[in-house]
Subunit: 431 residues, 4 copies
């Protein structure tokens, strides 16, 4: 028990390009960082396939997790001695910050869709299961792992700590905007975090921001908006995501249809039959996935081979704007024409939609997050969009973008009739 609360003899630091230094003063945090489950995050990139578009975006979730921890640590420093802040919650907040993404796997976005898993469940499993992380956390006390999991899952009654890790202006979002901007090299993600930190105040329900910092918060909201459309939803990244998820689909389908792999995808087996254990999951990381993609470049199945070659060598699908609901007939005709041209539309004609809600007063559904509140000079709390014209203007406005992805090179080289190919181009480039 004593070890968990111990301060390190001498502070440890990590040099960090975004926050300059990450400071670790607690034995507990140092031990968590050293667990194999946490070190595994070094082998999972923060932005999935974004590196294909922005070559600088090769940073890992390990990188980001330390950053979220550091921001949370600075929050707790600022909160020290203020009303509503309970110094006993410090290690809870820090542990939850560090571990909030520990359940992520390789290329989570596509992987989860195809194999129906959920990184949030894996996070809980890692914190509560038979793991090194769990055994470190239990040194605080037996109930501590559960408390940490509750914060991450937002089922905790400690709303203040929960809002530090997960709200519309939390340590997670602040770190990823700054960090992803830094590594990609785009300037959009910058905002004055230090200013926001200076004016954050704890309350019983959530962190709030003093009204004098409103403009810094506006700037943060706009940064997030820009990063979504400039980086996270970049159409080239989405193209690589499309190819990636079609690889997973193909493997799953081949397996189900009894195909014999030259080299069996042992690491994936548990995910085909849904009897996956935590141990199976923890063995996965991006090296493993890349390993299979490499050897599958030599598989017999033409589609799997083609998709892996495309993914590894950045021979991605082209895209056009295409709104499926508004162009249902075109959509059906295209599928037919692709089949006629010899391109299986299940793999080679893919709709992808992205949408973002930059800020919302109340956001129903699975990802419900608290609105941001300003602390007025007279002590009142006001919801941000009531005070900010800019935020009000974009509040609740969901923006969606629909694109159709397909391999233009294959289309040009296919054996389909000229008429078919001509008609395809006509539909694709209709305005």
């Amino acid at each position: 028990m004593i070890r968990a609360f111990a301060k390190l003899h001498e502070e440890k630091v990590f040099k960090d390009p975004v926050h300059r230094y990450i400071h670790v003063r607690d034995q507990l945090i140092w031990d968590l960082i050293g667990t194999s489950e946490f070190q595994r995050l070094r082998r999972i990139r923060q932005l999935g396939t974004t590196y294909v578009t922005f070559h600088g975006a090769e940073h890992s979730r390990f990188n980001h997790s330390l950053g979220v921890y550091e921001i949370t640590r600075r929050m707790t420093e600022n909160f020290k001695g203020r009303s509503y802040w309970n110094e006993d919650d410090r290690l809870l907040a820090l542990s939850a910050a560090l571990l909030h993404d520990v359940g992520h796997g390789p290329f989570s976005h596509s992987f989860e869709k195809v194999f129906q898993t959920d990184h949030e469940e894996w996070t809980r499993a890692i914190i509560l299961g038979n793991t090194e992380v769990n055994s470190v956390l239990r040194q605080v006390d037996e109930t501590f792992p559960r408390a940490v999991a509750d914060v991450i899952e937002k089922t905790t009654t400690n709303k203040l700590v929960s809002s530090m890790i997960s709200s519309q202006i939390d340590a997670d979002r602040m770190d990823y905007l700054l960090r992803d901007a830094y590594y990609t090299g785009v300037s959009y993600g910058q905002f004055d975090m230090e200013r926001i930190m200076r004016v954050m105040r704890p309350t019983s329900e959530q962190m709030v921001v003093k009204q004098s910092g409103m403009h810094a918060v506006e700037d943060y909201i706009m940064s997030r908006y820009q990063m979504y459309w400039q980086v996270y939803f970049h159409p080239v990244t989405r193209s690589s995501e499309v190819v990636l998820s079609k690889i997973f689909h193909r493997v799953k389908e081949l397996k189900q249809s009894g195909y014999t792999f030259k080299q069996p995808p042992n690491h994936f087996y548990p995910f085909f039959n849904e009897k996956r254990t935590l141990r199976d999951y923890l063995r996965l990381d991006e090296s493993i996935v890349h390993y299979y993609f490499q050897i599958w470049q030599e598989e017999n199945d033409r589609i799997l081979r083609d998709l892996c070659v495309r993914f590894l060598n950045r021979r991605l699908f082209k895209f056009v704007e295409f709104h499926p609901k508004q162009r249902m007939n075109d959509w059906l005709e295209l599928k037919q024409l692709f089949a006629e041209a010899g391109l299986d539309p299940a793999y080679y004609l893919v709709m992808d939609s992205s949408s973002d809600l930059p800020y919302d007063v109340y956001r129903p559904g699975e990802e419900e997050r608290l609105p941001i509140h300003l602390l007025m000079p007279n002590g009142e709390l006001k919801e941000l969009s009531q005070q900010s014209d800019v935020v009000e203007a974009i509040s609740g406005k969901k923006r969606t973008d629909h694109k159709l992805y397909y391999p233009e090179d294959m289309l040009l080289e296919s054996n389909g009739e000229a008429k078919t190919k001509h008609r395809i181009q006509e539909i694709l480039h209709k305005q």
Copy 2:
């Protein structure tokens, strides 16, 4: 032929955090970037295991290669219209810049030592062999691949182009200092590249720098010196390098001794028997290596298993200063004591030395590089260290650092006698 010289219809750019943008205007360069051999560099980190010490250093050789290309491109822009510069050499310089590291493999430093390969030979093989790179280069003309290889190998007669890619102040070094500083977050690597570029001038023998830019060059030399000792030779990185190379050693030894692997290391086989082909080499990258390290965590061999667990989970060796020549008796006694304590000294007691020569007038041996010359106002050339006190002071001074690495945890937990363990600590911490 025509395609190779074609300008792209519209310039392509890559967003780059170091140079802001990488500009591609030639079809040839665009095609080279798209080859599978070049895309493979995305799966090989620029700084090997440095990410273990500086978590930001996760950037790939793809990243750096684009940077070297961009600096060279800017040099050619600056040289345009100046004496000694032949505009016909532009594509030669750009291609050599882009491809100068294309032969690197995963964790080259350790891999090459254990398996006796040489990335420079592989670079030549990729440029001259049956590859996508070669077929793109041959579009210029049949002799072009050879010309590019000659520049990279410094066997060319074109000394000016050679000095742009490979001298004591070349595009390669300028990019890696700035880039590695950016990703690690250390400030040491910064210098005023734009200033240096402004005052670089072509001559028949090499690029030179106008005397007015001498201080910027001094700053560059000092940056390099600092990066070597602060980043590249960081003792923790060297520890992970030590563990890594011991993994390769162990695998090789096991193979030679007829050990049966649970899962055979197919990708490594060609490197055991030295009948490796270019195709074998190109199949290797860091995902493949990581894949094996992961599965070897479950091998029967205790040493291989242990080393892989250490490497993947950052349970590295400790180190002490230790000069082997000055303490030969201690060294021999330690080996004996480790064996007595049950730790095979071939794997668990490792000397590692690093040394750097920050600048030299003449540097004999394999890595001979031209000294830097200043162009004086009267048109004369003077060697840098004759003009700069600072450079003169460090010129030719080789600094070496010797460290002894060993697993302290194992030592503490070993079954060896207390007396043995005590004596080991005594020797290790002798001053």
Copy 3:
């Protein structure tokens, strides 16, 4: 004639913290920078009294003018060879960029209001009058000064060049946002200028921006919005502006009432009687104004003395939110109460309003500027707010802020009756 068009033998550069280097290649530009009228801008701060709030904001209009020139120069580099761009307009654009603010005087904002002058008229006078600037410009040809003045005044028929210097996204605005952000140290003014420059295209009517750069333009518009409210309209800066303009008022009133100055304000005389010449105006700069403020600290007139002491030593007025139209009775009562308390309300009770229109489709009145147009992939032009939700949301929305300024210290120390003073506080802090 020949000299004007001459290229400099060797490019001259100025080290600039915002654009790294300012490049001068034309003799004409070099000569303009060397004129006494342009060098005078070194003695006039870019942001007037903002340095009182943001101590870093001590940079001069000289600084900014070089920056606008440099951005324009880069635009002309990008435009070279494109349709609609006439290379003969290069020197016109560069000269207009460099000289667009040459008519500014010390603390223009307050000075112009009190003495009814207009820096735009002085700019014209400097360009067309008997000045060094004019004589340099005439080396191009006799009509050149008029052409430059026409661009700056937007009376030119050359709409493209005009839009480069003066539109809703011009070299002037881009430079001042980046520069003011840099010197104040706030992060809000940052946007990706390099990206915007890459996608700017000339048309017959104005510069436009390719649609792919829309998000960078949105970011620029938001930066401008933030800089207005965070920096330019900062209430403390406005307080010093209020005190400053009351000094000018007082001097003018004293002069008109026949007051005898201990040291006569010779430099101001021409501005009292409105017979000011260009020569009179050019003798003014911030040193001159500061000189008088200093000696007026020892004048007999109590109000002048007090205001100068306040301005120089940052003993500014306090402020409260106060909307004059909505609180007319309070306003009248306050004036009366201040007089009763012995504080002349003409000097010690000052309303100040700031308002900003972040972007407008069409902006009627004196400062009418063209809306920004996007160049769509199909060649069409679309007005920005039709394409951008964010810009649409803030377009045409004028935001105004009203504050009442007064010297709280004087109020507390005044000999007024307690009742009066109590009532004043009551009104001021009414909510």
Copy 4:
């Protein structure tokens, strides 16, 4: 008394581009910043005439003084709770840091030489005399002003505090390197201050630096070296300094020779007769000096007029390398030839030497500063140059640069005989 020790109700911050924020938490510091003597530093530039060469260098001593205060404040935060640090010395260190330059006047370097004053004496006078600063300091206690003055003058017995403000690695130097680099835009001044701060430790004799931070200190020493030669001793800046000091000389000489000024230089009178009071001195600032320079452009004396026009409009003297001791005959002949050509050599032929000692173990003479000591892992202290090859290499090496300044334009246009003028050029450009 109570007020002086009071913490501010709410921390005040200044936005600072170098340190992000300057934090003020003590009423004493806030009150010192508000004094007229300290506010006066806003009207004195940090780098004198350097803005003529680097247009960004327009920042004031106010700016720098806040920076030195902030670095010292962070040092005291780091020292809190460590051995040798006495928390009672906090306000002493902060006050000395803030006020260390308060006695500087306009263009101190030249002014002091011509009028034989010394800013260090004025600093003492301001702290101990009848000033606002003194009255604020006395609120701590009657002996406090003396204690602060002793720290600044290095006559204190408190060596630790003294070394924080004034040693070879103190808050003063760290701030000016970073700040001057920021405003000029050169990259040389950068070093990792945060790293150095992390490893600074108090001892009874001085601050020392843990050995692990040695490379950061090396980098700091090199930054200082580069800033001296790249910025502080830039030959163009020295040219403006030469012209400036010749203006002061001329005014003094005119006054002594009974010349009648059109407008008498009242502010300078006390400095001619050496009966200057503190009050006289405090009335001087750069606006006053600029005011006179402006009106002197219209004086009858040709030399004074010419020098003022040159200074204000950047028509500076040219320069050549010239070592006076080695070329005594040339020097004497030149003087003669200048006189023959009608140019008074006392004003138009000026030798200027700059020299710098980047680091020294022991530095005798007026500016003696303690060498830097490293704290070794075993607790010993070692002098820096014993440990660092780089520092050892430049330690104690004084570098001097001699230049001869003269107005080339005047020489070309002078009525002197062709022969004389030819001979002058011959000597000047002799190699």
